[in-house]
Symmetry: C2
Subunit: 210 residues, 2 copies
């Protein structure tokens, strides 16, 4: 039934998902593509095209069923599953991600946080004790981990990536500067904060030239 | 002299910049495109093309002058300038960004942090006192701010974006869920953490189907 969906559409789905979630929170049960478009900064025809991709057709004079669409997108994004997650690198960004959202609500279940810094090991961050990075391999032998969040320096990341892939972790949410070609079956999503800030600086500089 | 550089190249420049910086830290003065490519996961010809864009030609048998290239890219990215920066939203991510790196070193100068939460207002985060969001307009009347970092909930971001643009802030580093079309002269760089994680979940789900 499910057909191939383009990466561009997939990248927009979280936005639909978030927005539909907030509509549900506000008790709204249906929405037209025009209202969606006004809110999301996309054209109505773009929205219709995107949603048609997975067989969600709005009805003339009715629009989309918010709840149905929400759960459909949730399923497509794989958010109806639960993911065991570890954080490697308990510095500022690592700790912030641990606290950021109640990920459990979305099916992300933190099962361990690791660091090599003796000052951090043993600290309790909102109920999660920071473990010694040296215990990572052993931990992975005993615990199924779906996603590893890498919030450690690039130099350290290279070795860690080898270990986690070797131990069967298949999802990597990478905040480190290390970019590698992942082997088949392993997926990686990069968030390069400093690169993003440098890109902003570049755009600012370009704007001020005009 | 400077010609139009494509967005794709610009997005790779921070990686070159970071890598060249680490070479300099290690006392390496020159590098071949082949060594660069091995390290960066790009082909040597891609690297030559990228760098040719701004007139940095490697020399046969010598390669690139690391320091010269570093400072050239620095200039192109606008990193030779200093940017006054504020953070709006002093929650986990806001505080982590404040601490993350010594941004000053790169020309990012934090001049203020704002929040609406009375429990946070007045707290001192590494030498920066969190201010009341209600004082933001007045602050912007008196202080030149180049970049505002938005680390507050999407619902609150809409009004804040209006205020900061109205007060002349031209760069927005946006971590909130609010995405808007910025007016001419204002540039925005989005980092959508939850969207990135959802995309990772989707890829994981797709991989496990195969």
């Amino acid at each position: 039934m499910e057909k191939e969906i383009s990466t561009a559409v997939i990248r927009r789905l979280p936005r639909y998902y978030r927005y539909l979630g907030s509509l549900m929170d506000n008790g709204i049960t249906r929405i037209s593509s025009r209202d969606l478009s006004r809110r999301m900064g996309l054209t109505a025809s773009q929205i219709r095209q995107d949603l048609n991709n997975f067989g969600a057709f709005g009805q003339q004079g009715y629009g989309y069923n918010v709840e149905k669409l929400y759960y459909e997108i949730r399923k497509i994004l794989g958010l109806d599953k639960t993911y065991n997650m570890i954080i490697i690198g308990a510095g500022n960004i690592g700790q912030a991600l641990l606290n950021y959202i109640n990920y459990q609500r979305r099916g992300y279940n933190f099962v361990g946080v690791f660091d090599k810094n003796p000052k951090l090991i043993g600290l309790n961050i909102r109920g999660t004790v920071i473990r010694d990075i040296d215990t990572l391999e052993n931990f992975l032998d005993n615990t199924k981990v779906d996603i590893a969040v890498l919030t450690l320096p690039g130099n350290d990341a290279e070795e860690v990536i080898k270990i986690i892939i070797d131990k069967g972790v298949r999802g990597i949410w990478n905040f480190s500067h290390m970019t590698i070609k992942t082997p088949p079956g392993v997926v990686m999503e990069n968030v390069h904060l400093t690169d993003s800030l440098m890109t902003l600086s570049y755009k600012l500089k370009e704007e001020s030239k005009e």
